[in-house]
Amino acid sequence: MMFNRHAVWSIYKFEIARFGRTILTSLLTPVITTSLYFIVFGSAIGSRMTEVGGVPYGAFIVPGLIMLSMFTESISNASFGIYMPKWAGTIYELLSAPVSPFETVVAYVGAAATKSLLLGLVIFATAHLFVDVQVAHPLLMLGFMVLIAATFCLFGFIIGIWAKSFEQLQVVPLLIVMPMTFLGGAFYSIDMLPAAWRTVALFNPIVYLISGFRWTFFGKGDVAIGISLAATCGFLAICLVIISWMFKTGYRLKN
């Protein structure tokens, strides 16, 4: 047995079924949130600020909105996926099964990323109800979404292993990722900031991710697409290194 496909498929199905139990809130929440953002940001602010860099403001915030939801949802889906068995004690079965760390990650992160991708697409579709958005590079856009979903689900997986309580599970997405996303140009271009703040913003890794995703829509971003891709892949690589270390040492998984 080189690859335990039955195990990967079983975990994947288990996780998708878990999402399925909350399908209504999972998919309705982003639709409502997106609509609210469009009403508040698009209509209220957009009526005063018509364009950002030649793109209508309503359309401009679409990539940022998708990213914001995908970041937080990816982290929470993936972290819950691995935290729950730890919390309930059912992790004993995973640890005693003939499943490699790679297969474990593929299954859990794959399932969480699937849900994040669906969510991103739902938000994208909802946005179409409010504004006219043209995507310059649809394939790249999809590719970027997959990359972002995978990266943030890996990050969430790390948090799920690290967390010792439900509170710790929420700390990173709510207190770190959410503010960084707001400050990372989800709803504005960092060109609009004063020069000093623009320099500070460039230290925020989220800027590169949102900028890259926005580039796939409008052909331009705050930073070059190459840098955005490199930053995303760099983050992905860091997550992979941390996860492999966690499995190697059994960090918070095994005694």
Binding site: M1, N4, T90, E93, S96, P98, V99, N255
Partner: protein, 312 residues
């Protein structure tokens, strides 16, 4: 015959500094029922957890059916089923879903007929579409056994399988364990109920303070370490034991109506003929006498309260 599980020099020291296992060596024979006895905190669960891959050993090696549990973990774990002590279940899953999940997790293709057989054997078939959170504790225990058997393991670990379950389930479980043994499955169980080990096990290992102090065939153990008690029903009750009987360790029971004498069956001289002669000389008559073999429980209590060196 090659042992199905071979533990060599196994040591585990937790981060807290607690040494749970101290250089344990043990071979489990294929097809046997092995009972691991020991007081709480003796290292039973640690040992099982290491073999199953839940706890990392500090040093030493373990092979399962010839496969090293670390280097060749896939082959080793595929052979093993584990029913842990605690009831850990996915509350929102149905019985059928969770047992099917376990089979897949252990790398086996779906086999609905096999799952159906297990659920029927464990009286869970009627509950197959019930969510686990709606089941009683005993039923949850059955679900955990069903999960462990879902991938047709050759080695089954039962960690305190009957702790806190009712008489009926315990009887069912014993029946199931015997059936599994007949089908060739090797069973390793830990238990607090000594009568369970006495009833079921082929061999017994006693572990205390992280050391395996004894491994023996049950019958040999009972014979070797067993003591017998001779009870004499006196014709006339006595208030004190006469000084002339001082060389035998006698106790007076039942309001002076019984004399009890505990003796070692393996001793060259049991001291019984001379005791009876002396009693006859003193004119102490008795109506009846009987002897009783000590139970495994008594042997066990004796063992774990004796320093390791002396016990074996």
């Amino acid at each position: 015959m090659q042992p199905i599980i071979s533990i060599s020099n196994l040591t585990k020291t937790y981060k807290s500094g607690h040494q749970a296992l101290k250089r344990v060596d043990l071979d489990i024979r294929k097809g046997e029922i092995f009972a691991l006895l020991g007081p709480n905190g003796a290292g039973k669960t640690t040992m099982i957890s290491i073999i199953c891959g839940i706890v990392n050993p500090s040093s030493g090696t373990v092979t399962a059916d010839g496969h090293d549990i670390v280097r060749d973990f896939r082959a080793a774990r595929t052979k093993i089923g584990l029913v842990p002590q605690e009831l850990h279940t996915d509350s929102f899953e149905t019985v059928m879903a969770t047992v099917t999940f376990s089979r897949g997790l252990f790398g086996k293709a779906p086999h609905p007929a096999h799952i159906e057989k297990i659920l029927k054997d464990l009286s869970l078939w009627e509950k197959r579409n019930t969510k686990i959170q709606e089941l009683s504790g005993g039923m949850k225990r059955r679900v955990m056994i069903a999960k462990a058997l879902s991938h047709e393991p050759q080695i089954l670990f039962l960690d305190e399988p009957t702790a806190g379950v009712d008489v009926e389930l315990r009887r069912d479980m014993w029946g199931l364990v015997r059936e599994l043994r007949e089908s060739g499955v090797t069973i390793i169980l830990t238990t607090h109920y000594i009568e369970e080990a006495e009833e079921m096990a082929d061999r017994i290992g006693v572990i205390t303070k992280g050391e395996l102090i004894l491994v023996e065939d049950k019958s040999v153990l009972m014979q070797k370490l067993g003591r017998k008690t001779l009870t004499l029903n006196l014709s006339e009750p006595m208030t004190t034991i006469p000084a002339e009987l001082g060389e035998w360790a006698l106790t007076l029971k039942a309001d002076g109506n019984e004399l009890e004498y505990v003796f070692d069956t393996n001793a060259e001289r049991t001291g019984i003929p001379s005791l009876l002669r002396r009693m006859s000389d003193l004119g102490i008559a008795f109506k009846d006498l009987n002897t009783r073999q000590s139970s495994l429980e008594e042997i066990f209590v004796n063992l774990v309260h004796t320093p390791a060196g002396e016990a074996s």
